[in-house]
Assembly symmetry: C2
Homo-oligomer: 498 residues x 2
């Protein structure tokens, strides 16, 4: 039997390995995304990256990890709050990793590796039948996953919980019903209003966009000295170390707002990473509380701050200063231009108001599939029906419809709802924060420090110390409550469009 | 007892780990050099990089590696040529790694980590006494290293062999005596001739220098599609994978030749890496035969090709084309400008002719120190004496004298001679190659493919399959012979300056 000291030391060693291997993985990803990989190096690079990732995983799932966890679980009353949280998180992760028979994991990895290629082909050929047998197997595996992980009410609970700890069908049903009820008619109203705000079009030299990026980082509070800004095809944020958290963007000469909002979004993620309490590192708790929590911080910054009226007021003079021109633009016009609502087919291009409707489509389909109420072959037809119903539009082909997301072919079922939950967390934090911080006044003074301090103290610094629900409760005084999000959307977009 | 199959499998697993960890190390280095490390991230990054390097080392020095080596050494007659070479190289490396008591290695690492900082200070303060006690301990450790490694004739043989397998004092004495005898008077003659070729000065926009770099890569045969070009403070070449071999340079607006020759030098290294036979990878033999061998390929490209008359003839029109101007320059002037001889104090800034004289100074001092003929406290005085004797100049301070190199404070004794040996290998290869390939004609047609094919087949593709001496012997028909180098220097510089 291990002693408590042995167990803590063993876990410290494993953490050291995990940080180092994680840093290597982050740099391999960064390097590929920012400068590209020579075609002929792809295979060897993939093998090496695979080895490093596999090494991190096998060190974690080794039996001595469990011995350490069980040792510490046996003396919980001797542990402080952080040690307890560490044991909780390690126990959850270890037992999930061991819940699935190893041969099933292997087969599933081989399946999804193939499926991603087939998905590309199916999209190109507009042929759902190509991917259908893969989706069958992927959903069947995920159905078994529910049993391996375990659940109380609905099997899909097990998958939701995998991406958003504590999330359940019960909670998601309440959330998505509310959205359906309140947002669908609002979108319809806006569509029928015929109002078409002017778009911010023109040519925006990339060198000047880079200058704007630096201003955006400064205003949002992303500390560039503890990170870097890269240019890539698909923007992301990555932590190399806690003091080297990098963001990326992509510049389009003819689309200024694309880069502006990708920068603000990734800055939101990065600020979360940069503000986690350093003392959590020695417990392995210097991580986001959940995927939805991470998304809440990027969406809060991107939409609730970056698309606010106060932000438009400080952005416009900066745009005029950097790019010149724009003489016929005023604050109100810019506020409308950054909040154009236009029901569209593609989730990742959706505006703030309609985004969650895209998630509802996927949530309802996944839940019904996992529950056996529908079959994979029903997906294309139901997809069209739901888009007509929720967004009033109809995809012309599968690439702009049921085949637009990589998630299912990558094996990820239960992931989509965490995006929507993140938006709702964000609105709930914003509402709580606004009771004590005048965010708009700070914005107008180009000083968000009071807001980021509030977020830092109430959300960021706690990392993975609390479960998502407890974190939200401590910060806002109540558990997850989607009402704030729906109210926020209604108030904002009614104001803009009525 | 392990079976042969077990042993080969175990070594294959270790190789896989070593490639992956090596790739991570290369990317960590590349990332830091090309984009910098946030100040506050240095410590965590260092810890992670240290863990990855330590992991690679401890996997290699683990007892099961020795079991595998011994198993294979017990059935050498069942092994093919590559397997035998693999066993030879692993045996050499494993036994060297275990020759030194672990506590001595640890103490030495701590010592040199401190010594590098002290060396910086000593240089800044022009105070040799600060570093003296460190040098005492470092040379004492290296003296013990000779016994741990073992030697036949001279203790310094053990250190030479560590950087250049097979090198001995006997061989180096012959080489450096010849250089002393033939090159010192030549340098003196040039100095006294009063001839001062015109220098290529001016302003060279960096964007245009980048264009020239691409042309240089193309002409030398460095395959940019299997690598990348980075910009750094101190140029280097690094292999991420065999199909991703990267070079770096530094551009100075007012010094075109600095970047030109750093690019050609690193391209020489990179071509060696790119041309190693792929089949060697599964024996771990896809490495340079030695440090000197690597340097031979960079120096051959930089000096024997890049500073040849034929190269000046193709470079000049390209310079005129890219930068404009240079109307009053002709081929002969450019050939002289890229071969200016000027005895100088700093090794890394030395011209082709005087470079090896800098090495002689260090070789003679190291050899005498290791042999106990001189003491560390004698270094400053002897340094000045030797620079006066060999180069006819006298350093004004320690920074430009005995404290200019980081090597000794980094613990590296026996390293310097491999630079000079590399130059001599290069001349020997060039002489052999010129018997069958018209290198100058190729250059004038901007097509070096026959030369790189010869080098590829005779040197590059063999990686670490043969010991350096055998590699040279197979390629040139004789063992290491410094006569070619001395003859080459005499002929070239007599031609230029008489």
């Amino acid at each position: 039997m291990m002693t408590k000291t042995d167990a803590l030391e063993l876990l410290a060693d494993k953490r050291e390995a995990s940080y180092a291997l994680g840093m290597a993985g982050a740099l391999i990803h960064w390097d590929a995304a920012t400068t590209g990989v020579p075609e002929k190096s792809l295979k060897m690079r993939g093998a090496a990256a695979g080895w490093l990732g596999g090494e991190a995983f096998s060190r974690f799932v080794a039996p001595d990890t469990l011995s350490a966890i069980e040792t510490l679980e046996g003396c919980l009353d001797e542990l402080d709050e952080k040690e307890k949280a560490m044991v909780r998180e390690l126990g959850l992760k270890y037992r999930k990793a061991h819940a699935v028979p190893p041969e099933e994991i292997k087969a599933f990895q081989a399946l999804t590796a193939q499926a991603e290629n087939v998905w590309e082909k199916a999209k190109g050929a507009n042929d759902f039948s190509l991917i259908e047998p893969y989706y069958e197997k992927i959903f069947a595996f995920n159905r078994r996953l529910c049993d391996w992980y375990g659940y109380e009410d609905h099997p899909y609970d097990a998958l939701l919980d995998d991406y958003e700890k504590g999330a359940t069908v019960k909670m998601a049903d309440v959330f998505f019903s509310l959205l359906r009820e309140k947002i669908t008619p609002l979108v319809k109203m806006i569509n029928e209003s015929g109002k078409k705000p002017r778009e911010l079009s023109g040519e925006f030299p990339i060198e000047k966009q880079r200058e704007l990026t630096r201003w955006l980082c400064d205003v949002t509070g992303y500390d560039v000295k503890r990170g870097k800004i890269g240019e890539v095809e698909h923007p992301f944020c990555t932590r190399v170390t806690r003091n080297d958290v990098r963001i990326t963007t992509k510049y389009h000469e003819d689309n200024l707002l694309s880069s502006v909002y990708s920068v603000i979004h990734e800055a939101g993620h990065a600020i979360y990473e940069q503000n986690m309490a350093e003392e959590l590192d020695e417990y392995g708790l210097g991580e986001a509380a959940s995927m939805g929590m991470h998304e809440s911080q990027s969406r809060l910054m991107e939409n609730m701050i970056g698309r606010s009226r106060a932000f438009a007021e400080i952005l416009l003079p900066e745009l005029k200063n950097i790019f010149g021109g724009l003489k016929d633009w005023d604050n109100d016009m810019l506020y409308r231009a950054i909040n154009i609502v236009r029901p569209s087919l593609i989730r990742i291009e959706a505006d703030e108001l309609t985004y969650c409707l895209h998630i509802i489509v996927r949530y309802e389909l996944e839940k019904a599939l996992i529950n056996g109420e529908i079959k994979v072959k029903d997906l294309p037809g139901l997809w069209v029906e739901k888009y007509k119903e929720l967004l009033g539009i109809c995809p012309p082909d599968y690439a702009k419809g049921v085949l637009q997301d990589v998630h299912w072919s990558a094996g990820l079922v239960g992931y989509f709802p965490s995006y929507a939950i993140g938006n709702a967390y964000a609105a709930q934090y914003m509402a709580a924060m606004k009771k004590v911080v005048d965010v708009d006044a700070g914005l107008r003074a180009k000083d968000l420090s009071k807001a980021t301090k509030w977020l830092g103290e109430n959300v960021h610094r706690h990392g993975e110390l609390y479960l998502p629900d407890e974190l939200v409760r401590r910060a806002t005084g109540e558990g997850f409550n989607p009402k704030y999000y729906v109210d926020y959307l209604q108030e904002k977009f009614m104001g803009l469009y009525s």
